[in-house]
């Protein structure tokens, strides 16, 4: 254990440094003696003090690194969760199906069905248009025939 270094190891507790003592009068000496009543009042650091201090120092010195580690760990957890979610989607998502009756395609079936309806309607309109053209042509022919 380190002992506090004293440049004047001859000094007893309560002694004044020789430099100071050189200027002391009897009242100064007495004052030094009176102040001595506080000599034994000071707390002595127990063995626990060393342990508690070292623990606090360790905790304090680890804080920045600990925080970084915490963020790193959290980032790792977030990244891992995202990766697991992506893997789950890839593994469990069924291969593309065009069967509108396939219940796994529910999400897309509405679009497909709507699209089919549109195509059907367009086809019907086209047919009607063609039919009306045919009718018109036939009428022209009739008129032409009557006219002629």
């Amino acid at each position: 254990m380190a002992k506090p270094e004293n440049e004047n190891s001859d000094l007893k507790p309560g002694d004044a440094h020789p430099e100071l003592r050189r200027h002391f009068d009897s009242e100064d000496e007495a004052l030094w003696g009176v102040l001595g009543v506080l000599d034994d009042g000071a707390d002595k650091a127990g063995a626990d003090f060393v342990a508690r201090t070292l623990k606090r120092v360790q905790r304090s010195s680890e804080t920045p690194a600990g925080r970084l580690l915490f963020f790193k760990r959290r980032s790792i957890w977030v990244a891992a969760s995202v990766a697991v979610a992506i893997i789950a989607i890839v593994v469990f998502m069924p291969p593309g199906s065009t069967d509108p009756e396939d219940p796994r395609q529910n999400g897309n079936n509405h679009v497909a069905e709507d699209f089919s309806d549109v195509v059907d309607k367009l086809s019907g309109m086209q047919e009607e248009a063609l039919l009306s053209l045919d009718v018109a042509a036939a009428e022209d022919d009739d008129l032409a025939w009557f006219g002629s």
Partner: protein, 210 residues
């Protein structure tokens, strides 16, 4: 780096701490713990956060280790840090009105008093003498507490750490002349407030010598 301080074994320890030797730091905490606790207690009073403050000092020492350069004896450097910690604590306490020096003194006296009463019942020691000592301590503490911070610090370093003018100056970042002036004012103030106790001490000493 000043080679003159390399003879100080605690400076050597601190240099080992700088190199990452935690066992050297533990040696310093073990070696200077009591000194710091005593220093803190005399400055902020026994009911102040003495241990927390002492730990704060060691925390600062540990944090400063990486850039440590020996420019003073270790004890001087340590007490310079302790001085700043104490003064900051005083300012903080004054700002927040958390600690009343009067309460400190009262609780100190009451604490000792209760322990005294236990001792009277236990071993029948002389309570009057103990009570005198409690009163004397309380009065001395009051006188020291009444000093301005810089005078109090100077007298504590001189009286309880047995420092030279130069070391006190290094600790408080003052010139030797300023320290001498500060100590003279502190001594005069204490002589005024403790005049009766000083006379009693002188009489007692005269009696002992005859």
């Amino acid at each position: 780096m000043a080679d003159e301080y390399l003879e100080d074994p605690d400076v050597k320890r601190m240099l080992r701490v700088r190199e990452g030797d935690e066992s050297a730091f533990e040696e310093l905490v073990a070696g200077y713990g009591s000194l710091l606790m005593g220093f803190m207690q005399r400055f902020v009073g026994p009911s102040g956060p003495v241990e927390d403050l002492a730990q704060d000092v060691f925390l600062k020492v540990h944090r400063a280790a990486k850039t440590y350069e020996p420019r003073a004896r270790f004890k001087t450097w340590l007490l310079a840090i302790a001085t700043n910690v104490c003064l900051n604590e005083k300012r903080r306490a004054a700002r927040h009105f958390q600690v009343s020096l009067d309460q400190e003194r009262d609780s100190d006296a009451e604490g000792k008093g209760s322990r005294l009463s236990e001792r009277i019942e236990d071993d029948g020691s002389r309570p009057e003498a103990d009570m005198d000592m409690v009163e004397l301590k309380s009065k001395v503490r009051s006188a020291i507490d009444a000093l301005p911070d810089n005078q109090r610090m100077a007298i504590l370093l001189a009286r309880f750490e047995q420092m030279s003018y130069a070391d006190i100056g290094a600790t408080m970042e003052l010139s030797v002349m300023a320290v001498k002036s500060l100590l003279n004012r502190a001594k005069n103030n204490l002589k005024d407030s403790l005049s009766r106790e000083i006379q009693d001490f002188l009489v007692l000493r005269a009696d002992e010598s005859t």
